[in-house]
């Protein structure tokens, strides 16, 4: 249980970085930390201490019933792989936007990037 709570604290650290930090790059790092926290959370859902990979070889078929209970849930791992790819894409887009913003405004400080009202 404590691990899950630590994981959510990591998420909150990322959230802090996004909403409190004034630097574009630090905000992106905050998003990255949030993403890692979510990935960690997903992995922990399927994790078993001392578990084994969810693949049976031919020799193991006769003891398959005993092995099933030890197997790690593979779905969260597949989800995390997908989520990592998506996060990579988003971080790449955000960094490229930050670079373009730096070219236009000459700063990474969000308080100085304020031509819009909202």
């Amino acid at each position: 249980m404590i691990l899950y709570i630590l994981c959510l604290i990591l998420f909150a650290v990322g959230l802090y970085g996004v909403f409190i930090k004034k630097d574009l790059i630090k905000m992106i790092m905050g998003i990255n930390i949030m993403g890692l926290a979510v990935n960690l959370f997903l992995i922990m859902i399927g994790y078993k201490t001392g578990g084994r990979y969810p693949i049976l070889s031919k020799e193991e078929l006769h003891i398959a019933k005993n092995l099933f209970s030890q197997m790690v849930d593979p779905i969260p791992q597949a989800l995390v792989l997908t989520a990592i790819v998506i996060e990579l894409g988003i971080i790449g887009l955000l960094v490229s936007l930050a670079i373009r913003l730096y070219e236009k405004y000459g700063t990474f400080d969000v308080t100085k990037i304020r031509r819009l009202k909202g």
Partner: protein, 477 residues
Amino acid sequence: MKGLIVLPIIVPIAASILIVLFRKGWGLALASAFSMLGLSIYFLVTKFQSYYWVGAWETIGIALNLDPLAKFMLLTIFTLGSFSLLFAKNYMQKFTQPWKFYALFSMLLGSMSGVVITGDLFNLFVFMEITVIAAYSLVAFGVEAEELEAAYKYAVMGTVSSLLILLGIGFVYSSVSSLNFVQIAEKIKNLDSMLPIALAWTLFITGFGMKAALVPFHAWLPDAHPSAPAPMSAILSGVVVKCVGVYPLIRFSVVFRDFHHGLILKIFMALGAISLLIGVLLAVWQWDLKRLLAYHTVSQIGYIFLGIGTGNIFGILGGLAHIFFHSLFKGLLFLGAGSVYYISGTRDLKSMGFSRKALPVTYGSMAVASFSISGIPPFNGFWSKLLIILGTIKAGYLGYALIAAVGSLLTLASFTKVLRYAFGGDRKTDVREVPALMSISMGFLALLCVVSSFILVPPVYDIFLEGAVEVLKLGGF
């Protein structure tokens, strides 16, 4: 025949890839959008139903589910998508590489159909991410300072909300060990602890609420939507907000129906009423035409949630119809604002004042759309708002009915201002009407603003809306 279900996802995405290869392809994008519009009408008319397992991995794979609600959303996506693309040809000429716009736009349409067709929680997340990544890029398409700023803000808010949603999906999976909507709905009935589902709902309402720009989370929308090129603003306000924000929430209210369904609907109503009022109050003071329209999007999304939250037939019907109607008239208003910008290069209402006679098509379609959004009787917005107000009264919430009526009046006031300032003068008569394709696109949408009211009348209603209303009344998937 069951495999037809994948076409609305595959065809636009394939078109997008081909456009990137050939470095041109307005025609291809347009053909794919219009053929998918035809296909979604075919789905509706023939009452085509399909539950399709991708790769034939029955019960453990990814399911696609084409139910009446999804079909209705497909119609909404491709109606506005096709006409926006028709409009885009001339509008995008001033940009250096319009093919990039068409590629991203097709990708956006395809991934949005993925969001509405999917029957799987994580698959919904993946398609949602493709949609929003395309949307961030399209908001920044002009790469001017303001556009980049708006896109950055949108991307940061969007990513935070996506991660909240992913965390919520993790909570759901940890509790029911399934991602399929049907299986979740079955397994949720006999759960020991509802705590993970409650946490997941909190995260979903926050996350999708941010994407749907419900009021506490609306700050990004008035920056992001006006910064995009006009056809993109139209699709952002008209469809994207609904596909990645409104649709998942109303779909989840059906999937998680055994978890305090009444309470969730009450939350929808409260959030809807707040958004409705605050959105329109903020809109009245705006002088930037596209910004004003963006604030009205916040307000109209409030109407949809208010209607669907009532949980009775009037409210649900009104809310669903408002999804379609709002996409038509808000899309038309943004295209109209785009053609004013195309003609004069301004978005400031104070410096407009064009002659009505010089711009008959732009003025006419803007007027039709303004009457629709303010709820003037023969136009479509009136009927959906009337049904929503009837629904709130029937559910016994007179206060919300009053808020909806006041919101409608303020909308009328705001659009009287738009028509008066944008087209009130006779000073500027030396302007030329927009090119034919843009006029045709706006003319058709204006026609649809009037004609689409008929989807509430029985013979047509049976085809378009009956099934979707049944789904939301918990009659099954």
